[in-house]
Symmetry: D3
Subunit: 162 residues, 6 copies
Amino acid sequence: MSTPESSPLTHFDADGQAHMVDVGAKAETRRVAVATGRIHMLPATFDMVKSGSAKKGDVLGIARIAAIQASKRTSELIPLCHPIPLTRVAVEFELDEAAHAIRCTVTAETVGRTGVEMEALTAVNVGLLTIYDMCKAVDRGMRMDGIQLMEKLGGKSGHWKA
Amino acid sequence: MSTPESSPLTHFDADGQAHMVDVGAKAETRRVAVATGRIHMLPATFDMVKSGSAKKGDVLGIARIAAIQASKRTSELIPLCHPIPLTRVAVEFELDEAAHAIRCTVTAETVGRTGVEMEALTAVNVGLLTIYDMCKAVDRGMRMDGIQLMEKLGGKSGHWKA
Amino acid sequence: MSTPESSPLTHFDADGQAHMVDVGAKAETRRVAVATGRIHMLPATFDMVKSGSAKKGDVLGIARIAAIQASKRTSELIPLCHPIPLTRVAVEFELDEAAHAIRCTVTAETVGRTGVEMEALTAVNVGLLTIYDMCKAVDRGMRMDGIQLMEKLGGKSGHWKA
Amino acid sequence: MSTPESSPLTHFDADGQAHMVDVGAKAETRRVAVATGRIHMLPATFDMVKSGSAKKGDVLGIARIAAIQASKRTSELIPLCHPIPLTRVAVEFELDEAAHAIRCTVTAETVGRTGVEMEALTAVNVGLLTIYDMCKAVDRGMRMDGIQLMEKLGGKSGHWKA
Amino acid sequence: MSTPESSPLTHFDADGQAHMVDVGAKAETRRVAVATGRIHMLPATFDMVKSGSAKKGDVLGIARIAAIQASKRTSELIPLCHPIPLTRVAVEFELDEAAHAIRCTVTAETVGRTGVEMEALTAVNVGLLTIYDMCKAVDRGMRMDGIQLMEKLGGKSGHWKA
Amino acid sequence: MSTPESSPLTHFDADGQAHMVDVGAKAETRRVAVATGRIHMLPATFDMVKSGSAKKGDVLGIARIAAIQASKRTSELIPLCHPIPLTRVAVEFELDEAAHAIRCTVTAETVGRTGVEMEALTAVNVGLLTIYDMCKAVDRGMRMDGIQLMEKLGGKSGHWKA
């Protein structure tokens, strides 16, 4: 189970050294990625977030802005990511009453030479972290789960769905 | 189920508006936070990461650096976080052979007026995201789970353990 | 009207060269600054912002977050500003119906060696710019006015009021 | 005067939630924006800035650099702005002797999918803030006024002039 | 020896004022730059870096990541640089046993309107600085030398070689 | 020639893994670092920089600002650096007519728990890089040399001089 001669992990060159992989010859095409994740909390915390969304103490409105802003910083945070000019970012929150969990789903798009999976995932992570931050004074035990890519479109590898 | 007069969510003022809460009167004390999370992957992906750590294609070495660097950017990412002069950040990875998962655990410390929970959690998230990025060419379905605070020390609220 | 031997503009040294002035010998004391400014718009734009604040399309909620986040980036934007650990940032918006203008007032605080005037002013500017951005699709002619420091407390120069 | 079904504020979706609006289908065309603003100061402060520009204590030279650099950070500061590859930024300062005010005018250009109004306005704001910072030791009461877009070219909405 | 009417230094306009020069009319073409530099150290320090690269205490692996990440921040650091979407960054280290020096060579590429010389040079500088940082506890006298452009390809000025 | 049991390279822990070393128990004391470096250029380039400094096309004024701003970003660029609240940064340029080289010397200070060597060195590097950028249209072969620490004061290791 050793690393093969030429690593299938494209972020490494033939000598096993990290590099920002050459995408210069790739076409600029429309690329979309959808990622998701959720945060579990106490019932009382869940109720606070829920009521806040409707009137004041708008936890989700703030988390949405944080998620969008984070997507634009992805290439600063993830060492081998290419800088990408995002053309669209949309963030949805769903309240799961039964599980007192909040799901965050992000759709990111670009017209570029490489995909936007990391941008969508980074936005989900920071959106959930912001909910944690806003509520941690009453609930330190919140837990983030199920953070994953749901779907991607565009590029040589084409359509992928979880 | 309405928001109480004075919200227990301290990031909101009495009118329900977001603010960066006043910590000026708090003492500068030593504060520690430990956060953790894991990423699940295919057995073949797990083996690649494992073999790489020992010799070349060092996925975890790169994820560790990304996690440390991200902890320093926390207050830029999380809207209501105070800027904090971190005095220590340590990142550990554990390989869970049975589950072909990698656990990332971060300890963050400061001598400051507010806690470092968000710094530890942000580092965990970016560490896991970097593993995802490094391996996504061979395994798009990796999943991040169980991201949570494990322990915090210091400050008025004292010791907390998950 | 020539520059005096030793410039009263403290950001220049005796040779007229810019430097980040030495504050190492100053005491760490509580410092507060309050800055304000307003943005004028068409009556129809004003009504949209006003109705949005109450229910959805929350322009001011987003501008508040942008203002707080910008205050933390002040030393990156203003070349000779010292990095300062802000201990509090609060942003208030007032709707001036008669003038169909929105006033943004920011209070910034630190316990540090230098004042937080620039942090408060930067937050006001970015708060107003965000309102402009959110509404520019319907009103490109909005105008920002009256951006100034209102008050500062703390430090050797003591209390100052506009 | 309630928000219409589909908000004319394009930064909100049909549910009134903020998003980074989809510009992926827009053509990459040349886009120009010109923004302006001024800062009023005491006559003695004005004279210092004026004499400094000519020889040493070059306040305006530093403010020009700050303005250019800030234009490149616009999408980090303004939450729903798209990242844009600027192709030109020029900053002009005019000294208004009668009003002892300094006017800052910025022209920003890109070849891209969305306009550069925010880049031009952000540069004006940070240019004026830097003048404030450089002179605040002698004049805390300086006031920024008349910050607005003067002209834009390119894009579907075409030419606009204040 | 005076500055000519129209400065050959393109970062200044006809009045000698700095600007981000207009590249909007330039074609988007493939551009490559290679830069290099080295850091000299004590024999004992050199041996530590050398042994670390092979097994643990991986100084060069960390310096490589720092160099790649810095290349993406070039336009934030160098005031008049245009933001550029890098399509490739590769970092090589060579151990010069005789001189107990480490050479860092960076290749940067884009498909864009302006060259990537500054991106390659910035990466070299930060790569070397990171080696310094990692080893300074045992060797404060390390010296960086010979940092220069080796080659550039693409753009109107065509091929250039040191 | 193997790495010792406990690495003298403090940025690695006992297992050879990178960490941000714990400085929480260190005293906050005044710390100073002086770093230097130079850039060599063609005689004609040197003359342009020299004449520009006096009147217009102020290359060195812009490089000074870039150096100061970069010093504040050091902990973002150098992976294991602690964030440090700089209390002073001064940048001097000397023209070496005989060698047609420009020397950049930076003094950085803090009152903190760790030294400011990296801040001084980063400022020198970015100052020299900015000179390169401003002059590269006429002289691509410029070379940076002799970048090193000159002196440090404060901290447990005390005074050090090159």
